[in-house]
Each structure stands twice: as C-alpha cells, then as structure tokens.
C-alpha cells in the first residue's frame, strides 16, 4: 500500500504533490540529471568489475583495414580520382604508428618524444614524394569513421589528394589514455618514381596490445606535402632493409608474426554491450518515463479543469523528444 502511495505521489497529480507529479517538480528534474551523471560515472568501475565476470561490457568495433581501403577508394571514385593501391610497407608503417601510440600513450601525429609521423615511413624504408596521415579512434564501424573523415575538411583533403597513389591501414585495439579503444591509422603515399615498392619485409613482427574493444572517434590531419627539405632527405634512391633497431623494444613482439592488417583478437570475445549503448538505453529510459508522465499529467489535469502555475508540459515534451531523437541517432567518434 505504501508503494502505491509513493508511486501516486511520484507520478499522479494529487494534493500531496501540489497537483503536479513529484518527478515533474524542479527537484525531480535535478534528481534525474544527478542519476544520469551517476550512471555515466559508474560505467568505468562497472566495466572493471564485469571484466572479471565475463566480457559483458566493452567496446566492440567491426572496423577492418580492407573496409577502410574500400570506402576510401569509393570516396575517391566519386570525384573521379584514381584508386589507391595497398602497399605492404605502408601497412607496416601504419601498424608501427598505432603500436607506438599505445606504447607511449599519446594521441597525436607527433609523439611526445618528438617522433614525427614520417619516421614510421622511414623505418619501413618507404620512399615517397608526398605522404599523409589520417588518424581515428573510438569508432564502432568503418562507415561512420570514413564519414567523419569526409566531414572534416583537412582529413577529406588527404583522402581526396590526387597525388597519392598508395595506402596503408592499421586497425588496432588496445587501451589508450585509460580508455579501451580502436585506433585506426591511415597512411597515404606517392612512391618515389611512381613505382610501387616491394619489400622483403612484407610481414612484420609488431607488438599488439591486449585486444579489447572501443567506441567514439577522432582523427587528425597533417600536411599532405612534405617540407621541401624533408622530401629531399627522404628521397634516398637506395632500398635498404627496414632498420628495426630504431624501433623501441616495446613495439616488438617476438612471439607472433602477423600480416599487418586485420590483426585478430587474441581474446576474441565480443562484448555484449558498449558503454555508449548502455548510456543511450538508460538516458532514453529517463526520457520515455518523463514524457509519459508529462502526457499523463496533461491528460489528468485537462479532465479536472484545474488551474496550476507550472511549466508548459508540451514544451517540455518537445525538448525531451528532440533530445531522445538525437540520442538514438548519436554516433560515437571524435575528430581532433
């Protein structure tokens, strides 16, 4: 009986709540906001706990390097540009860049220790006239990620640069800056002399951080064209073996040799929920509850023909529906 009274107090306009459901009072909205923040904050510790009980909560990304190449070429084809061909050296360089970001925990084109993106081209002995790099993280699927790049003028310029002839892509899962994520490194190049380069090191041994899964995204551009002096310096006519000794030891995985793209997940269990999905479900539940309560309140008070000094239910509904609509359509991903 007490439960029913409480529910009526919360959701039914009556004398005890001044003829306005308690959840629709200003304090009610504040409580829901606090609940939302609390839920969001609790996701991180919940994930740590659930990791011990199974892979229930985590980030799941279905991005593959081949899809990235296909969609990139598809975008170029729309503009009548030539198709990029996959170069294994660029794949290696992209893989090394991703491993470097995980090993040194940074998200940028230039590493905190000053390592330039071009260093990874050099390490695999890829000689280029022009090169470029796009980065992305936290996307759950390839379409959204490429769409995000295309929405950014600087990333789009890289993808649409007609000087590029070759492409290399790495898709690597791991923990970056405390968050499980999928890093995508996309490298472009115009090989010196326009001849595709073949290296004996078509496969490379790299360290792959323990694969977990992500959501959200980010991408950063760099100038597609090298400074003149850098281009000259890179255009060495001699092909040499990649000098792995230049790579930090943390980037070398001695036990496994893998193709540089589409690295498999060693703990291949896809999480049931991603934090973003759970957050959306919870927030949408809040919105549905409030909208239903607002509709019910309007209906009851209309029949009672009682005058109250409260906010406009219809306006609240309009705003909450708009928020719900955006929550449903919201796609993770950040571009920087």
């Amino acid at each position: 009986m007490q439960l029913i009274d409480t529910l009526r107090h919360l959701f039914h306009p009556q004398r005890s709540n001044n003829h306005r459901p308690r959840v629709l009072h200003p304090e009610g909205f504040l409580v829901f906001a606090i609940l939302a923040v609390g839920f969001w904050l609790s996701l991180a510790p919940a994930k740590v706990f659930l990791e011990h009980t199974g892979n229930v909560l985590g980030f799941a990304s279905n991005i593959t390097a081949s899809q990235v190449v296909t969609l990139t070429n598809s975008e170029r084809a729309k503009q009548g540009l030539s198709q990029l061909t996959v170069n294994s050296l660029l794949n290696q360089a992209a893989q090394a860049k991703a491993a470097h970001m995980f090993a040194h925990q940074y998200w940028a084109h230039v590493a905190p220790d000053g390592t330039q993106p071009w260093q990874f081209f050099k390490d695999v002995n890829y000689r280029y006239a022009v090169a470029g790099e796009n980065l992305a993280r936290d996307f759950s699927n390839t379409n959204d990620m490429v769409a995000a790049w295309m929405a950014s003028p600087t990333h789009r310029a890289n993808i649409m640069n007609d000087r590029y002839k070759e492409i290399g892509v790495a898709v690597v899962d791991g923990k970056l800056l405390g968050t499980d994520t999928t890093l995508v490194v996309q490298l472009f190049g115009d090989p010196l002399g326009g001849v595709p380069q073949i290296s004996p090191a078509a496969k490379k041994v790299v360290k792959v951080p323990a694969r977990k899964v992500v959501l959200g995204a980010e991408a950063t551009p760099i100038p597609a064209t090298q400074p003149q002096q850098m281009t000259v310096a890179e255009n060495q006519p001699t092909v040499t073996q990649p000098n792995n000794s230049n790579m930090p030891p943390a980037e070398i995985l001695s036990s496994v040799t893998l193709p540089v793209t589409d690295l498999p997940n060693p703990q291949s269990t896809t999480p049931i929920f991603s934090p973003l999905q759970l957050t959306k479900v919870f927030f949408l539940s809040v919105i549905i509850l409030l909208v239903l309560t607002l509709l019910y309140d309007s209906f009851v008070m209309h029949n009672r023909n009682t005058v109250r000094l409260v906010g406009k239910n219809l306006a609240h509904i309009m705003l909450l529906v708009a928020v719900g609509f955006l929550l449903i359509l919201f796609k993770g991903g950040v571009i920087g």
Binding site: A33, G311, V334
Partner: protein, 85 residues
C-alpha cells in the same frame, strides 16, 4: 493540449523552429564534439529563456516555474553532453 498549442502558436512555432535547427546543426557538425557541446549549451539557454519569456508574457510566471525550466534545460543538456564526452 491543442488549445494550449493554438493559444500560444507563435511561442511554440519559435520553439519548434529552434529545436529543428538544433537537431539539424547537431547532426551537421558531427563528429566535432566541441561544436556539438556548444550547440547543447545554446539550446539549453534558449529553452530556459523561452520558458521565462513565455510565462512572463502570459502573466503566469513564478520562481517555481523558472526553476522548472532550469531543471528541464539542465537535464536535457546533461543527457546529451554526457554522450559526447
């Protein structure tokens, strides 16, 4: 509700237009989350002001009503802000 809509059709038209613009803008600026957050803050402030102005004009304003609009605007902005973080 229809009566309410008709009685304040100008106010609701303005609100509807602002919400449509907000939705459109939110989608267009993706994946720039900084701009999305700016839009969220803008619509929250607009909604609060819209509520106050509408109630003042209809002579139904009170501090409680003002807090209610502040609460709804705050809740709506938090729900969207948190998913962009």
């Amino acid at each position: 509700m229809q009566h309410e809509l008709f009685k304040h059709r100008l106010a609701y038209s303005i609100l509807l237009a602002a919400l449509v613009l907000f939705i459109f803008g939110f989608m267009v600026v993706w994946p720039n989350h900084v701009q999305q957050r700016m839009l969220i803050a803008a619509i929250a402030i607009f909604y609060f002001i819209w509520g106050v102005v509408t109630h003042v004009k209809s002579e139904s304003f009170s501090r409680r009503v003002m807090f209610e609009y502040a609460g709804v605007a705050f809740l709506a902005s938090m729900l969207l802000l948190l998913v962009t973080l």
